[in-house]
Symmetry: C2
Subunit: 255 residues, 2 copies
Amino acid sequence: MLSRKNTHKYGHSCMSRGVRFVRTSFSGLDSRLLMKRSSLPVAAPKSPRIRRTKDARSLSENGKPGSPGAEEQADRRHEILEIAAELFAERGYRATSIRDIAERAGLLAGSLYYHIRSKEALFVEIHNTALAAAAMRIHNALNGLSDPWERLQAACLEMLEIQLNAGSLTLPIMNNLRSVPETVRDVLIRQRDDFEKIFRELVAALPLESDIDANLYRILLLSLLNSADGWFREGRLSRAEIAAQIVRIFRHPKN
Amino acid sequence: MLSRKNTHKYGHSCMSRGVRFVRTSFSGLDSRLLMKRSSLPVAAPKSPRIRRTKDARSLSENGKPGSPGAEEQADRRHEILEIAAELFAERGYRATSIRDIAERAGLLAGSLYYHIRSKEALFVEIHNTALAAAAMRIHNALNGLSDPWERLQAACLEMLEIQLNAGSLTLPIMNNLRSVPETVRDVLIRQRDDFEKIFRELVAALPLESDIDANLYRILLLSLLNSADGWFREGRLSRAEIAAQIVRIFRHPKN
DNA sequence: CTTAAATTCTAACAAATGTTTGGTTGATAA
DNA sequence: TTATCAACCAAACATTTGTTAGAATTTAAG
């Protein structure tokens, strides 16, 4: 499949993009990482880009999505982001080449640079997007629940779904920090701390014994969930059952 | 530091190897992975190696370490293995280049291939060595302990020491499986299953409630310990305290 | 000293990498 | 029609990668 022969123009066009469906209607998160040049310490381009024509990298530069034709632009970009996210999650940062991403998107390697600024910036944006989307999903999953253990279990379940659901922008990129270049790592960690705040509050609400360190408790729990795709095996237990088991194990004191 | 200028021979010799001390007097584990050519499905070399002279890769081919001069050979090889292990643990498989390893060993890239067969084989051997060494360390740490919770805590502590102690051949290579090529991954996973047997027995000895899945219990615990270098922060809690906390959290029922 | 073996260097190789440049296409609007 | 512009291609680029071949050197044995 995906034989890239002459079809219409350029030898291959918008084919093979069909079997992808975008679910996350998520957009309001800072994707300015690809726009403002000097806002990030990641691999500043050596030769200053001289490009008069407005390319897709400066999308949503004018705040509201009201520009004409900005709809398809955003769609295409979002599509590429999801493809890249999927590959990054599967193989890790370094094992995923620009050419891999481009091929999956039906493009050539160089053409990707119309949409992205660099591989590093692409990864950072994906990471941020995934983190923000995950935060929102968990927030929604907690809606209406009041019992602290119920809330914890719901958060665990949602976290499992997020981690194990490849194909969306909410993906297990959260681990494998070692495979990412140092320049990017610091930026990611900062964003991550922000995300952990949710679980900090969840744990703080638990009636834990005084001899249990709440900080470590949360770190261990998050470590489990973040590496879920590393230990999860399909079949034996459902994700809901696993979430229940996790809370049962972590529950203290057993009333 | 580590300026590699002309010193004696070849422009740089055995300098910069000084600040390394070998601790693990571990040797009796199968390092035949680098010797027998067709014993592994990892990246069979295309062109058959035609080399009459006996190189270091066929070390200990004759079972016992009684060959003349085999001592220094083993030492040099062991040194290289440790260096490579350290780098692999720090940066991951793909981010660690042959040239990085060679430089740390005071060699040039090509010279490394006198000692190793390929990068993949090197990684596989390191992984096996680390796994076997870890198994033995844990086994020793359990010596004399009979109470199942005490045994679990001792195993956790030893596992933490192993994971957090960079610089030895027992290292956190156990994770980051995504960064390793597919050809190698299967071999590693098989070895890993063997290692988990220790924890399977440890968990089986625990008086867990019937509504707790022992399998998942063990997997979660191992996942925590394996990714310890991902969440551990020096300073707040000692490793022994962390091990105690983990067992306290995982302890069921609370008697 | 001579000789052979063990170890490292020099120098390349092909392949893969991220990225840039300038041209080409198709659609839209004047 | 013509001009414009977003989107893509084609072709290269400079590095870095794992790996090899053969020459040079060191080490140990006779």
